[in-house]
Amino acid sequence: MAVEDPRWQEWMRAAQQGDRVLYGALLAAVIQPLRRAARARWPQADASALEDVVQETLLGLHTSLHLYDPARPFMPFLYGIMRFRGGDAMRRSRRAGARETPIDDVPETSDALTTQSDQHKGLEAGALLAAIARLPDGQRRAIEMTKMQGLSLEEASTTSGMSVAALKVATHRGIQALRKLLHGAV
C-alpha cells in the first residue's frame, strides 16, 4: 500500500468544504498510487480495464466525499472505494470482454472482417435499426443519443432538454422494448 501524504487528509477536508484547487491537487496526486494499486490487485487486467477502475474509483470518491472522516487516514478510504467500485468495473469489463472482439488485434490483410458471421451481424444490425425506428419517440431519441451517437448522459440531456433521470428511464425502457421486438422477430 502506498505511503500516504499527510497533506491528503487536509486536502480532503478542504474538498468537503468546496475547495476546488486542493481537490484537483488531491485527485491528480492519487492517480499514480491508484494505478499501481489497481495493477497489483488485478494483475491479469489490461491497461484499459485498469484505467476504468481508476476512473470508477475517482467517481466513487466524488460521490462519497461526505462519508470521509478527516480524523481517519485517507488511503484506506480511497482503497476501500477502489475495492468495491473497481470490482464492479472489472466485472463489467470481463462481461464485455466475453462478448466483444477487439478489432485492433485483427491484421489489416486478414479476411476475418468479411466472414459469414459478420454478414449475419450486418443482417442483425438491420433488424436492430428497424426495431429502433418502431420505438416511441422519446425512447428512440434516448437510444440514438446514448447508445448510437455515444453521447454522455449530460450531453444527451443538454441536446434533448430531457433530464438525466428521464433519459436513463427512457433508455432502459427502450432497451426492454427492443428486446421484445427482436425476440418477437426471431
Partner: protein
C-alpha cells in the same frame, strides 16, 4: 474519456458537502427515535401481566439482552457497511449476539426436551408474531432506511440485511414485553423466524433501499 478530463469535470462539479456523522453517533440517533417508538407499541398493547416476574427471571433477561444487543449491533453494522474504509469484520459483528440469542432459546428447548420429551416441543400457530414484530420494527426500520440512504453505495445488501435485522430484533424484544408466549420453540419459530424472514427480505430487495439517484457526473458509457 481520459482520466485527466474526468478530473477536470469532477473538480468543476465540486460543491461543499455536509459530512456524515460517525456510526456510533448515528446509532445514538437511531436509538433516540426507535426506543420510544418500540416503547409506544408496548404501551399500546399493554405490558404482559407477569412482566415483573419475568424481569426477575435470569434467562428471560439474558434472552431480552441478546435480542436488544442484536438490534444495536445490527444497526451499527449497517451504518459501518456503507463506509468504504470500515473493515469487513464489523459487518459480521451481529452474528455474535444473534448466536447468543439462538443459544439461549436453544438451551431452553433442550431443557424442555429433556424434561418432557418431544411432546414438549410442539409448534402451534401464533399468527400474532409476524405483524406484531413488523409493527414494533416499523419506525426503527424507517429510521435506518433514511439513514442508509446517506451511506455510500458499497456493501448495500449487507447494510440492508443488518439494518432489517436490527429493526426486527428490536420489534421482537418489544413483543416479549407484551405477548405472553414463553415456549422457547415457539419463540424460535415465530419470533426469531420473523426476524430472519424480514432480514432476508430486506437483503433481497436491497437495491430499492439504496439511493438510486444518478451521479451528477458520469463517464461516457451508460
Amino acid at each position: 474519456m481520459e482520466t485527466e478530463r474526468l478530473i477536470e469535470q469532477l473538480v468543476g462539479g465540486l460543491t461543499p458537502v455536509h459530512r456524515i456523522a460517525r456510526p456510533v453517533t448515528r446509532l445514538a440517533w437511531w436509538l433516540l427515535i426507535s426506543l420510544p417508538a418500540a416503547g409506544l407499541v408496548v404501551w399500546f398493547f399493554g405490558p404482559r401481566p407477569d412482566l415483573a416476574a419475568r424481569l426477575a427471571d435470569r434467562s428471560f433477561l439474558i434472552e431480552e439482552g441478546a435480542a436488544l444487543l442484536t438490534a444495536f449491533v445490527g444497526i451499527y453494522a449497517a451504518l459501518c457497511a456503507g463506509l468504504p474504509d470500515q473493515p469487513d469484520w464489523k459487518v459480521w459483528l451481529p452474528m455474535a449476539p444473534m448466536a447468543l440469542w439462538f443459544g439461549v432459546l436453544g438451551q431452553q428447548c433442550l431443557d424442555v426436551f429433556l424434561r418432557l420429551g418431544p411432546g414438549g416441543l410442539q409448534v402451534t400457530s401464533d399468527a400474532m408474531c409476524l405483524p406484531a414484530i413488523a409493527l414494533g420494527g416499523l419506525v426503527p426500520a424507517i429510521a435506518i432506511t433514511v439513514m442508509l440512504r446517506r451511506s455510500g453505495k458499497v456493501r448495500t445488501t449487507h447494510a440492508c440485511l443488518c439494518g432489517a435485522l436490527g429493526a426486527a430484533a428490536l420489534g421482537a424484544a418489544a413483543l416479549r414485553l407484551y405477548h405472553t408466549e414463553d415456549a422457547a420453540i415457539m419463540v424460535i419459530v415465530w419470533q426469531l423466524g420473523s426476524v430472519v424472514l424480514f432480514s432476508l427480505l430486506a437483503g433481497a430487495i436491497a437495491r430499492l433501499f439504496a439511493d438510486t439517484r444518478p451521479d451528477s457526473i458520469s463517464r461516457t458509457r451508460l
